[in-house]
């Protein structure tokens, strides 16, 4: 049992300036289920894509069963017995299960014989591992859980001894997830090695033998699952980062400015991402929504700001309803005093090829104040942009520079300046400091507190727990499309971490 199936030694990988993996060492024992846990962007998927040959590491060695190997393409990985189930399924939607399974492994140039062979092999695998699925079903007609089974079958059909699953339960219902875990257990009993990438602590505790924790591109710890605890893992995952201290006085909450009731939202694939969420935000307070990315926060923000049409529920701005399930668009909400700093700065909040001053009126460009007869009041926009640049210390201080040429922190300040300077009643902010340097983070945090002290209602969504804790006056934790708890700003990191991981409050107390 002690033999290593995979060893990764000193793996480094950068994408441009972003160091996705730094000096990673990892050993996975044969015949075990090894979990890799970490927040989004911790570098888990990159590491596994390197192992699968989808990317090449900048430096470092890979050993499979003790032998040094070079893996340059997925083919090399397949030949070494490594299979991968990607987070976004690599399936051809209008192909049958059988066609998907044999793609790339057809053998001979004519399909007839290989299909017949594949069919019997597939039936054997299905029996052996309890992976029933109709070989002739068309993928797009199958539920997600079954599609994932096809991905596993694909890997097994290729003779995988080592199976990597990247966030496999993200798209599954709890029942489907349980079924998947049973299958993984069975694979382990058959002597296969499983690497499970996830950000959900519950899954790690439920089925893994060993767990490695990644944070910001580094491997911070490896533990035997039975000897660790949810608390320890949560702490390792989130990390004891230097808490950026923000000076702030007592909040003086006033009347309710934003009120959300039973809001239900689906994403573009039709999956319900927000499930009947209700909350209020008062004037003069910051309400933080904590949660691991992908638990419905993005869809919530988009629905409240009018970008995405909600399925049902109500939103009230200053006591009067907004038609978020119907006609209300972002423009209507802006007119009624709701400003929105979106999560996706690059494609939603800014237009990178635009000059800075052009971005400083995005969304407000249709307001009378920026019109001069038939034309846009360019002078006014430029003057205001110059003022914002000074007030928010945006560098370089040039409103005519293309936005793409500003750093991440300065780009974010451009968005914040635009939204804050319109004197909104309600400000909703998504991931305000993602990809932002430390200096800018401090500045942005101060501005948000200042907004609160001016009596604005601020709704903050962030996956950075530190940020939520240091800014919020009330913390709502979102998990699986629901708000699973509300805590004060003094709530412990561990406690919040557990809520974020979907562990019930009661369990956490025990």
């Amino acid at each position: 049992m002690a033999e290593a199936a995979i060893e990764l030694i000193g793996i480094n990988k950068s994408f441009g300036p972003v160091r996705a993996n730094r000096d990673i060492n990892l050993e996975v024992k044969r015949g075990t289920i090894h979990g890799i846990i970490g927040e989004n962007g911790a570098g888990k998927s990159t590491l596994m894509s390197i192992l699968y040959g989808f990317y090449q590491a900048d430096s470092g060695d890979i050993r499979v069963a003790g032998q040094p190997v070079t893996i340059n393409t997925p083919n090399d990985a397949i030949a070494k017995g490594i299979g991968m189930v990607h987070q976004h399924f690599m399936l051809v939607q209008n192909f049958s299960v059988l066609e998907n399974v044999i793609l790339g492994m057809e053998g001979e140039p004519l399909l007839n014989a290989s299909i017949a062979k594949a069919r019997s092999e597939l039936e054997r695998l299905e029996r052996e591992y309890g992976l029933e699925v109709d070989p002739d079903a068309i993928i797009e007609e199958l539920p997600v859980g079954l599609q994932q089974r096809v991905e596993i079958l694909k890997a097994l059909y290729r003779g995988a001894d080592i199976l990597i699953l990247d966030e496999p339960t993200g798209v599954l219902t709890p029942a489907e997830a349980d079924h998947l875990f049973r299958i993984l257990g069975q694979l382990k009993d058959e002597g296969k090695t499983v690497v499970l990438i996830t950000h959900k602590l519950r899954e790690i505790m439920a089925i893994t033998d060993t767990v490695s924790v990644m944070r910001q591109g580094t491997m911070v710890a490896t533990r035997t699952t039975s000897e660790t605890s949810v608390e320890e893992l949560a702490e390792l995952m989130v990390g004891r980062r230097v808490l950026l201290h923000v000076e702030k006085g007592e909040a003086k909450p006033g009347e309710i400015k934003l009120s959300v009731r039973n809001l239900t939202v689906r994403d573009s694939r039709g999956v319900t991402m927000v499930k009947g969420v209700s909350f209020d935000v008062r004037a003069g307070e910051i309400v933080g929504i904590a949660g691991v990315a992908g638990n419905g926060q993005s869809e919530l923000l988009e629905a409240v700001s009018g970008i995405r049409r909600a399925v049902s529920g109500t939103v009230m701005l200053e006591g009067s309803p907004v038609d978020v399930t119907g006609a209300a668009g972002p423009g209507d909400l802006r007119d009624r005093g709701l400003a929105h700093v979106p999560e996706d700065r690059h494609y939603m909040g800014l237009i990178l090829p635009f000059e800075e001053y052009e971005n400083s009126i995005l969304g407000y460009h249709d307001e009378p104040q920026y019109q001069k007869g038939l034309f846009l009041d360019i002078d006014k926009a430029r003057t205001e942009a110059a003022q914002q640049i000074e007030k928010y210390d945006i560098r370089p201080p040039n409103p005519r520079l293309k936005t793409a040429n500003f750093s991440g922190g300065n780009q974010q300040k451009i968005v914040l300046a635009r939204e804050m300077e319109q004197d909104p009643t309600v400000l909703i902010v998504g991931q305000p400091t993602r990809g932002v340097d430390v200096g800018a983070i401090e500045f942005i945090h101060k501005r948000l507190i200042a907004m609160r002290d001016q009596g604005k209602a601020v709704l903050l969504v962030s996956v950075e727990l530190d940020e939520i804790r240091s800014l919020s006056d009330r913390i709502l934790v979102m998990f699986d499309g629901r708000i699973v708890g509300e805590r004060g700003p003094d709530a412990g990191e561990g406690e919040l971490g557990l809520l974020m991981a979907g562990v019930e409050a009661k369990e956490a107390a025990e």
Binding site: G306, P330, M348, L401
Partner: protein, 379 residues
Amino acid sequence: MSAPYAKLPGWADYGLIPLINLIVAFAVAGIVVLLVGENPLRAAVILVEGAFGGGQNIAYTLFYATNFIFTGLAVAVAFHCGLFNIGGEGQAYVGGLGVVAVALTLDGTFPWWVNFPLAILGSALAGALWALIPAFLQAKRGSHIVITTIMFNFIAASLMVYLLVDVLKPAGSMAPQTRTFLEGAHLPKLNWMLDAIGLPVRSAPLNVSFLLALVAAFVVWLIIWRTRLGYEIRTQGHSPKAARYAGIGEARIIIITMMISGALAGMMALNPIMGDQHRLQLDFVTGAGFVGIAVALMGRSHPAGIVPAAILFGMLYQGGAELAFEMPAISRDMIVIIQGLVILFAGALENLFRPTVQSIFASFTSTTPAVPATPGERA
């Protein structure tokens, strides 16, 4: 979107790279000249002399350029919204109907300066309406605008043949064309302007629609860079996601943009019909709608680039005619090749030389610190 945001200074991005692409396109065209057994350099000299050698030549060059300014602007406006309007040819053709609707009814009633504005409206309206259906189908039903505009080119061609043969042709005439307009639908020539600067013109069709084209270029610049509408068009073109965030209605913007594009293409009809032939005849567009694609790509969709690019193509048309005279092996169809090569190198292969240029610049800047940030003058 796959192109990395270049750390290139503006002049390299808007000047150097298009120039390299253009030079390569002409170099390949030179190979074709070699293939037909002529000397490319001599051909180039004849071409340039033919285009600019005298007042007469310049007048013709500008006459052709007028067409290409209109169609180039049409393609460019759609590009700004992320749409590829291949239908300029058909929109210009149908735009001719708007011109003759005015010219045939009012040419005996009003002088040209009354009929001209009416014909501008007529041609713009006809072109815009012909673009409306593909635009509507793209905006509301998701039909790919490239395919529908191609189809509409062919439908326009059939429609115009039908109208000219069966409806508009005067009784008793054999040629598929309308009657010749009276004086009231003849646009004044501009040849006196060249005469005035000492470049005598014998007779050339250069007319006031050239000035209209320049005005149109300026107006397009105003619309795209100085109005709320243009702001919304560019937002939609760069990032549909940001447009949604900004509350810009996608369908509305697509339809309006395509109608502006169609109107510009339609206005091209004024130049040959009212300015030169004084009647509507078959195939008067002669590919100008397609030249617009090359012009827009070369001019990087900016009026300040489109006007010179259009004049370059005007030069090719006029100089090409002279060239065909001097070198019978090289007919005017040479221009079609050059046009194709320009589209290929300035359009489909625009990133071919960019990495090389970028790495040259990178090696240059690594030794010289602090490159001054150049403001993107052309947005």
